[in-house]
Symmetry: C2
């Protein structure tokens, strides 16, 4: 997580520690005392700045959302593979993505809204790109979920590759793996037709 000038305050340290620990252990799994210790402050100060655990989580949601949208815009203007990646899948935002995924699984509305936004972005992009699936909405939702899957299973994927996917090399490999999934069709459109008829 890269720092900004105002971010040397205790409040920012608490928020950063919360995002990291919530992301690693889940919301229930990380206690206020753990977060306070990680940030090098007393547990009372967490309460002083954020009021409650729920409010701390909302502050984290908001911050993660803002940062994600910032990075997303940066990548959109820089071109490259970015267009393929409306919700940025960039090593820089690993901790944020990890946190958002956990927050989503624990029912965060802000995080879920980000997901829905990503689905819409993919919908628009796929239209402009000339992709015409049977059910564009379902296609876009599947793609949005797919892009987050690597974060969810980062430990398992790392174990499968034999190297941490947060390392430059591991990240490059799994990124390449994803590109292969997106470039090599594993069934033909004809087969898809056949399956759909079977199901009816």
């Amino acid at each position: 997580m890269d720092r900004r000038a105002e971010d040397l305050t205790a409040r920012a340290r608490i928020r950063d520690a919360a995002i990291r620990l919530f992301g690693e252990r889940g919301i229930e799994g990380a206690s206020i005392r753990d977060i306070a210790t990680a940030a090098g402050v007393s547990s009372g100060l967490v309460r002083h700045h954020f009021g409650s655990k729920e409010a701390l989580r909302e502050a984290c949601d908001q911050y993660a959302k803002e940062r994600m949208l910032e990075v997303s815009e940066e990548l959109a203007t820089s071109g490259g593979v970015a267009a393929l990646d409306p919700v940025a899948l960039h090593p820089r935002v690993f901790p944020l993505q990890l946190y958002l995924v956990r927050s989503m699984m624990d029912g965060s509305e802000t995080a879920t809204a980000l997901f829905l936004g990503a689905v819409e972005t993919i919908e628009d992009w796929s239209k402009g790109y000339g992709i015409n699936p049977q059910d564009r909405r379902a296609y876009s939702a599947a793609l949005a979920a797919i892009k987050l899957s690597v974060f969810v299973f980062r430990d398992q994927v790392s174990k499968a590759l034999g190297e941490d996917i947060t390392s430059p090399n591991g990240y490059a490999r799994i990124g390449q793996g994803m590109l292969d999934v997106f470039s090599i069709p594993i069934i033909t459109q004809d087969q898809v037709e056949t399956i759909r008829k079977q199901e009816k």
Copy 2:
């Protein structure tokens, strides 16, 4: 979760309730008392049968693993799309998958071993199927993660589609969406080459 003859015992009811609640709320999020209430027994009986929460989780891991492998074999022999789906993605095993994903995220070795097994199965399958990605291991790991992603984000995907993906209709739609992802290449192999050169 479908029942078997022996499954009318209190022990089985506890295990089923545990798999459901662990899957819905995470391991930390579901207490022994919650599970006991859901199974219609006292919390002491959970301890009597399983010893500890950790042991209960391991029993759930083991049971989920066995059932998954059973279903996996069934689907493999029944042909159809099954070959495409070495780790069965079948509505029948939704609660099991949900549980295994949660257990995996909380560091279960049994669940992680299942994931690694799936990666190997996909590796073998992709070879026999004539798919030749740059990095077969990374490709297989990505595919394994992708297949589980729908379970992780089932609430978000359901919200995006406007209908529950555990319903027959919703399941058919997201299944179709996945098939479209696997049948429509979104970048060409040439573009992949270009990107790889850029990154170097």
